[in-house]
Amino acid sequence: MILLWLLIVPLAASPLAFFLRRRSVIEVVNLAAFAVLLCLAAALGVRVVRSGPVSIWDGFFYADALSALVVLLTSFVALVCSVYAVGYFRHDERNGIFREKEELRAPLAVPKLREYYSLTPLLVFSMVLVALANNLGILWVAIEGTTLASVFLVMFYGRETSLEAAWKYAIIGGVGLSMALFGTILTYYSAHQALGTETLAGLNWSVLVGNAAQFDKPTIRLAFILILLGYGTKAGIAPMHTWKPDVYSEAPVPAAAMLAAGVLNCALYGLVRFYILTSKCLGPGFASHLLILFGLLSMGVAVPFILVQKNFRRMLAYSSIDHTGIMVLALGFGGPLGVLGMLLHMTFHSITKPLLFFCAGNVQQHLKTDLFREAKGGLIHSMPLSGAAFLMATLAVTGAPPFSLFLSEFTILRAGFSRGYLILAILFIAFLVAIFSGFLIHIANLVLGPDPGLPPAETCRWKKSSVVGLAVVIIVMGFWIPAPLFRLIQGAAGIVMGGR
């Protein structure tokens, strides 16, 4: 029953926001829906840790520790993003961003906001569906759904550049996901031959995983390549990452944060499900080598672009490509340590990334530019909170101790050494160091330095509370992971390793 509620809550919040008239009511409905969703997700997590997988409707919806983890992260990201969104859009509204085009007065920014507040629950609904769908076909439908729900979010501001970004996003995403669909069809075909079922259950992951060893090997090999390319496009693995910088810099900041910290996990989740099937069928070697190749390539691609980056929002996108690469690489290293490292990294990344986006958004709204060149540095004087948090988030996201991403990256490194990938692990360190220094130099130049004499930034309590709240969570997580959360991550790692 809890699975149904997890889907119903965001699905109901979407039309509700569409029909309401007052802005404050819409915001409250949105926040309430995501708060309820987070509680439900936590309840699901507790239940899965205590008593194993939950399923309803003959296993049509199915949640094990891995799905529960992704649902939990998704709902957390959705909640913090919607808290931030309130402050962000109020700031936009005060600055007349919505008025300019519509030639309307202030209260009529509501139609535009309604668009945002009815599309984000739809996006969150698709993300939750990705994690709860047992059927691999429905998984594909839901991932395609995340693209469709977010295209309009990307072109929210209706600038020429946002249309360009939305177009790239839709077409590259569409072509990429069609490859994933082909991979899904091939998987169904090999299962069909082995199991002979023509019913719906023939595509259910929980059924497939038990019989993966009997599948036709060449078919699964081809299917995995297609899935890797397809869901890899959605996750932004190089060389299919080209849409990412455009989309992350053009979408409104809370939506971009949701894409970077939420949708990314869902795409990787799809990949992980197929990885489990493939390594059961073919042994771990084949999938691992491909994942290591693409993971290192993504990290390597991100390095030069971060070092010479001119635009701080595009830099966040390259950081996201880098982190996708790290997670894919960790999965490729494999073994209990590699898988645990990957899931820890996914968790910590989802918590840390939104803060980076929020700070970048605050800076952009204050300076009205997203170019390093036009920002003259010394932001700490005009916006002490966002400036300090930006610096902290930078350290956290590049994996400096004591922040939690250091822990996961260290685990991944240990996995690399213990599995004998000596040179690759050294390359991994080199990329991390290069990204760390590039990122830190850019942000330090932006935040520190003499006071350029800007007026102090307006302080909005919604923005402040989301930044402070998230920063507290990040600091606490650096020293202490709640035991139930860690057990959930361990359970998920067990599923990736053992299948059940």
């Binding site: 076909g137 249309l163 569409g174 719906l200």
Partner: protein, 228 residues
């Protein structure tokens, strides 16, 4: 009317139609008029629906009938109608220039067809099943070729609308692959995919419209402000 019960006969009809589908796909590659591209897509979808219908008839499978009806209604009628209306609204008739010229594009499409046949070889196990069960298996090569050519068309076009058509024909290839390998996906999945395709076309249609308004052109090669 005994030949209507004969799977051998059904197999021949399906092969013939699949060949036609492939010919249409290659014709679409060289096509310069947007409206004719849309009509080619409509006819192609109609043939796919017919193939699905024949497979359903010989296998007595209800869910394939439903898939066939859906593809007939959605891809052969509704989507072409929507797209033609969009073309009328934005008053654009022809694709000015694909990135690679027509003769070379057709040559590439021919090569991709060969690739399709080579890939499909690895899935061909003639010894293991009877004729009835293997009905339509030889269309897999066509399906892979459709997929690859659709991929190529999407990349090769400059107009936003023709890119959408490329994406749709790619989707047709996937449908043919699903129907020839496993007699279609489970119905719920099939419905979900159709729903996604419909929504995707609407979203892309709105996007095309907005791009047309903002740039006074659908030429996506003009979308080049976002660079490093």
């Amino acid at each position: 009317m005994t030949f209507l019960q004969d799977p051998e006969f059904g197999d021949r009809i399906i092969t013939l139609m699949a060949a036609l589908v492939l010919v249409l796909q290659i014709a679409a590659v060289g096509q310069r008029w947007i409206v004719s591209s849309i009509r080619i897509f409509a006819v192609q979808s109609f043939l796919l629906a017919a193939i699905a219908g024949i497979i359903a008839y010989f296998n007595h499978a209800t869910h394939i009938y439903i898939a066939a009806l859906l593809i007939l209604g959605l891809k052969a009628v509704l989507l072409p109608w929507l797209l033609e209306r969009l073309v009328k609204r934005i008053e654009i008739r022809r694709e000015i220039e694909p990135l690679i010229n027509a003769p070379l594009s057709i040559l590439i499409a021919g090569c991709l067809t060969l690739v399709g046949y080579v890939v499909a070889q690895s899935f061909y196990h003639p010894e293991e099943t009877s004729v009835r069960a293997a009905l339509g298996h030889n269309t897999l090569a066509v399906a892979i070729a459709l997929f690859l050519i659709g991929f190529f068309t999407t990349l090769n076009r400059r107009k936003a609308l023709t890119q959408v058509l490329g994406l749709l024909s790619l989707e047709n290839g996937l449908f043919l692959a699903a129907i020839s390998l496993t007699y279609g996906m489970p119905l719920v999945v099939e419905l979900g995919i159709f729903f996604d395709v419909l929504v995707a076309v609407m979203v892309l249609g709105i996007l095309v419209f907005r791009i047309r308004e903002a740039f006074d052109s659908m030429d996506v090669s003009k979308l080049r402000k976002l660079r490093e």
